[in-house]
């Protein structure tokens, strides 16, 4: 179950959220009204050098003062406000969505090659595991996640998603099976620039979770998708691997295929499987991951979940259903389906 859709405009032309809302709503039979969400890149041009921290507060007294305290310790809050929301009849408000625009002091994280990112990652992990009543669900620059428990159109209208304009959009319609439908459990999942939407279940979650935890991440959201964001951050940012190699680590070719590759390719794939065995993801999944530079979509190694690609000019669409893409863009062309495990990458071309 679950419906996913992602789009990138390779020339960075901005799209508002109204059409992706409609596309996601088309996939309502893939959801259960217990979670939906949107991620958009390029939405905060006025604060593009700041980390946009989106937080769910249970109240804005104790948890907020604790988070404020931590942020003051690690950097400077450039601006903060409640995320504008609009009451919806079908959506029960559980938290107070808040956003900070934050600049960390980079000299506080000695020995890191990406000190600001590491400060931000630390703040996210620390908040989500130790501050009762606060959950950071979005922490990238010039991007933001908007999610809640509810149907796609209610969640979109709650945040008035059409007011935001981005060059990459991800959206997710949730049918929770393993964990309760709660606001934090809705997709997209995010850490720094990485945002993830996922249809499926990750049967290797226990292994993947232990792997990311042994590398300094804390899984606190009770959901398998959370590890995907951390795996991309670990392999993509910290290990510096390009997206296609990250996908090869997460959904590698079978040994039989590797054994039949030309020698050089075989050596590389062999090394990836040996080194990143604990990052290998099993189970049925179709995933779209975004950063500020592009999107990548891929499925599990035996393709137990659907994924459809479409293109129109500078736009690349990745979704669970062709019909959803057609809602966004009736003129879409080159509809096709990637092979199992094969990454579909859309990069900015500006």
């Amino acid at each position: 179950m679950c419906g996913i859709i992602g789009v990138i405009d390779r020339k960075r032309a901005l799209m508002d959220g109204s059409s992706i809302r409609d596309a996601l709503s088309l996939m309502n039979e893939r959801g259960s009204g217990e979670g939906a969400g949107y991620a958009a890149y390029g939405i905060y041009p006025d604060y593009q050098d700041c980390y946009a921290i989106h937080v769910f507060f249970d109240n804005i007294v104790e948890p907020k003062s604790q988070l404020d305290h931590m942020l003051h310790k690690w950097g400077r809050i450039v601006h903060q406000e409640a995320i504008p929301t609009y009451e919806q009849e079908g959506l029960k408000r559980s938290h107070i969505p808040w956003r900070y625009f934050f600049k960390p002091y980079s000299d506080l994280m000695a020995g890191s090659s990406t000190p600001e990112d590491d400060v931000m990652k630390y703040i996210v992990m620390e908040t989500n595991s130790n501050i009762q009543g606060a959950l950071i669900f979005s922490s990238g620059k010039n991007m933001g996640v908007f999610k809640a428990s509810g149907w796609p159109e209610d969640v979109a209208n709650f945040y008035r998603i059409e007011d935001y304009k981005g060059y990459i959009w991800l959206a997710h319609n949730r049918y929770p099976t393993n964990t309760p439908g709660w606001w934090g459990g809705a997709h997209p999942f995010n850490l720094l620039d990485w945002a993830v939407v996922h249809n499926g279940e990750i049967t290797s979650y226990g292994t993947n979770r232990r792997y990311v935890e042994s590398n300094g991440y804390t899984c606190s959201m009770f959901t398998d998708t959370e590890v995907v964001a951390y795996l991309f951050d670990l392999l993509g940012r910290r290990h510096g691997l390009p997206e296609d190699i990250v996908v090869k680590a997460l959904a590698p070719p079978f040994w039989d295929e590797i054994d039949n590759m030309p020698e050089k390719e075989q050596e590389l794939n062999h090394a990836i499987r040996l080194t990143y065995g604990p990052a290998l993801m099993n189970g049925p999944f179709a995933i779209v991951v975004a950063t500020h530079e592009g999107i990548v979509g891929f499925t599990d190694r035996i393709k137990l979940r659907p994924l459809v690609i479409g293109e129109n000019g500078n736009r690349l669409y990745i979704s669970s259903e062709e019909a959803a893409i057609r809602v966004m863009d009736p003129e879409v062309q080159n509809i096709h389906m990637p092979r199992a495990g094969e990454p579909v990458i859309g990069r900015l071309n500006v």
Partner: protein, 503 residues
């Protein structure tokens, strides 16, 4: 005054109506239970060990064996075993020897762990129709890959991987030395691992020439006695294993009595004919983790860094800290041998009372390595009391990369777990060097039995993985979320990092 005799353990009877007087029972019993008087077969049940060789060879199914009910005054504390051990020690003043694994009725943690299966939203995978990958590489892995991506899209791999052992199934056969078991038994195991694409250990008995054709599937052992160890031996192995401890006897050395050291064993072990082969409890060049690291490096240096080096320790209370130290050395794998591990001969008090269960040891080692961020630096091999494919799946889910089996492989060759291995009279030709007994074991036939066991457990493991929606063994490893504890106490669940059933 004499202490007198203790009651019989087993009672053998022959159905005289069925018996055809073929006398095979007499020929088959190496313990001398049967003898012939005139035309009659006379039975001395006191000598019986329940090895079942006579029963399995009787053409008329005329022999039956009963374990005798205890006829002492019943007592919850002073059990028959406790009393008989005292009587035997009062008589001899010696340490009581025992063979095979721990015989105390400790609860088996494996039996209180249940595996997961998929339903509906997460489809199970059918291994008959979908690929299922059990291939396992044992050895050091880098914590990250360095690559260079060129502008034209070409990718150059900059990281050089260290040699790993490639297994087609995560099941290996543990170390049982030539001396403890017969050459035919070793040959059977060697042929079996070659057939199934896996590995076996030589034990500390050296490598007999007859095994040379299978050397690419052998892990050679360096124990404290250094028996049979020279550069030729090290170079023949696919990997080298340093034995620090053994699950059945943590903290003590080994002893092969001189009477078992025949010409062949003497040559293979490089010791004088008829001399006792005594491995000391410690390696006399290892008194710290740094010393161990030095031996690891020496062995690597001697073999030009081409072979993985494993270190085997018994599962003991601080196994996790020791394993973390081993991981930081140049060692490629740590073998943890649980307190149910088999043994050719060990003091009974050790076998039954020293060490900890493999389930807890593997879980705590995996956890420690994870906490220190070095789990990928080393492979973990679990051994000691693995009885079936479910035990293997559970071991892997608790954090093992692969397992060693020992007793299971012997049972596949006929062993009836009678526990008399240390007497050297094994009627199945396994734990003996007596030529007439050794020749009873046909390496061709028994290798097929052992290979079949490995194949069937591999198939079952695939099915268990498929049911859990997992098609690659990497994704079962350390996957605690696919296990639940049933009737396990909170403390044990905490060590295992496993949730209770229903959670």
């Amino acid at each position: 005054m004499s202490l007198g005799s203790v009651p019989l353990k087993y009672k053998i009877t022959i159905d005289r109506e069925q018996c055809m007087h073929c006398m095979r029972c007499i020929d088959n019993c190496s313990y001398g239970v049967y003898h012939k008087e005139d035309d009659r077969i006379i039975i001395d049940s006191r000598k019986c060990t329940a090895c079942h060789h006579c029963i399995s060879m009787c053409p008329r199914d005329a022999i039956s064996l009963q374990e005798r009910p205890v006829d002492y005054r019943s007592h919850p504390l002073w059990t028959a075993e406790a009393r008989e051990d005292i009587i035997n020690q009062a008589r001899t003043g010696k340490i009581i020897l025992a063979g095979m694994g721990n015989a105390k009725p400790y609860p088996v943690i494996f039996d209180r762990l249940v595996l997961d299966a998929c339903q509906v939203t997460n489809p199970s995978i059918d291994p008959l129709r979908e690929p299922m990958e059990l291939r396992t590489y044992l050895g050091k892995k880098p914590s990250k890959l360095e690559i260079d991506k060129k502008d034209n899209g070409d990718v150059e791999l900059l990281t050089k991987l260290t040699p790993n052992l490639k297994l087609e199934t995560p099941i290996m056969i543990g170390h049982m030395s030539y001396g403890a078991i017969s050459l035919n038994a070793q040959l059977s195991l060697a042929k079996a691992v070659e057939k199934t694409g896996t590995f076996m250990g030589t034990g500390e008995g050296g490598l007999h020439e007859a095994i040379y054709p299978y050397q690419k599937n052998m892990i050679v052992q360096v124990a404290s006695g250094r028996f049979g160890v020279d550069i030729n031996y090290l170079e023949r192995g696919a990997a080298i294993e340093i034995k620090i401890g053994q699950g059945a006897k943590p903290g003590i050395g080994g002893h092969l009595p001189g009477e078992k050291v025949c010409q062949d064993v003497s040559c293979t072990r490089m010791i004088p004919l008829g001399s006792d082969a005594i491995s000391p409890a410690p390696h006399h060049d290892i008194y710290s983790i740094e010393d161990l690291a030095q031996l690891v490096r020496s062995l690597k240096e001697a073999t030009e860094w081409k072979k993985p080096v494993f270190v085997k320790i018994a599962a003991v209370h601080n196994a996790a800290a020791i394993a973390a130290g081993i991981a930081r050395s140049s060692a490629d794998a740590v073998v943890i041998d649980g307190f149910r591990g088999g043994s050719g001969a060990t003091p009974k008090v050790f076998r039954d009372n020293v060490g900890i269960p493999i389930e807890a040891a593997v879980a705590s080692v995996d956890q420690k390595l994870k906490d220190q961020g070095i789990r990928n630096k080393i492979s973990v091999i679990a051994s000691g009391g693995i009885r079936n494919s479910a035990d293997i799946a559970k071991s892997i889910a608790l954090g093992a990369d692969a397992v060693y089996i020992g007793t299971g492989a012997l049972i596949a060759m006929g062993c009836r777990v009678c526990g008399q291995c240390y007497r050297g009279m094994c009627p199945w030709g396994i734990a003996t060097q007596r030529p007439d007994l050794v020749e009873r074991l046909d390496p061709e036939a028994e290798s097929e039995h052992v290979a079949n066991l490995i194949r069937s457990w591999t198939l079952e493991l695939s099915e268990l993985m498929g049911a859990a929606g997992i098609n690659s063994i990497e994704s079962l490893r350390s996957n605690r979320s696919r296990l639940r504890g049933y009737m396990l106490d909170e403390g044990t669940l905490d060590v295992l990092q496993v949730k209770p059933v229903g959670a």
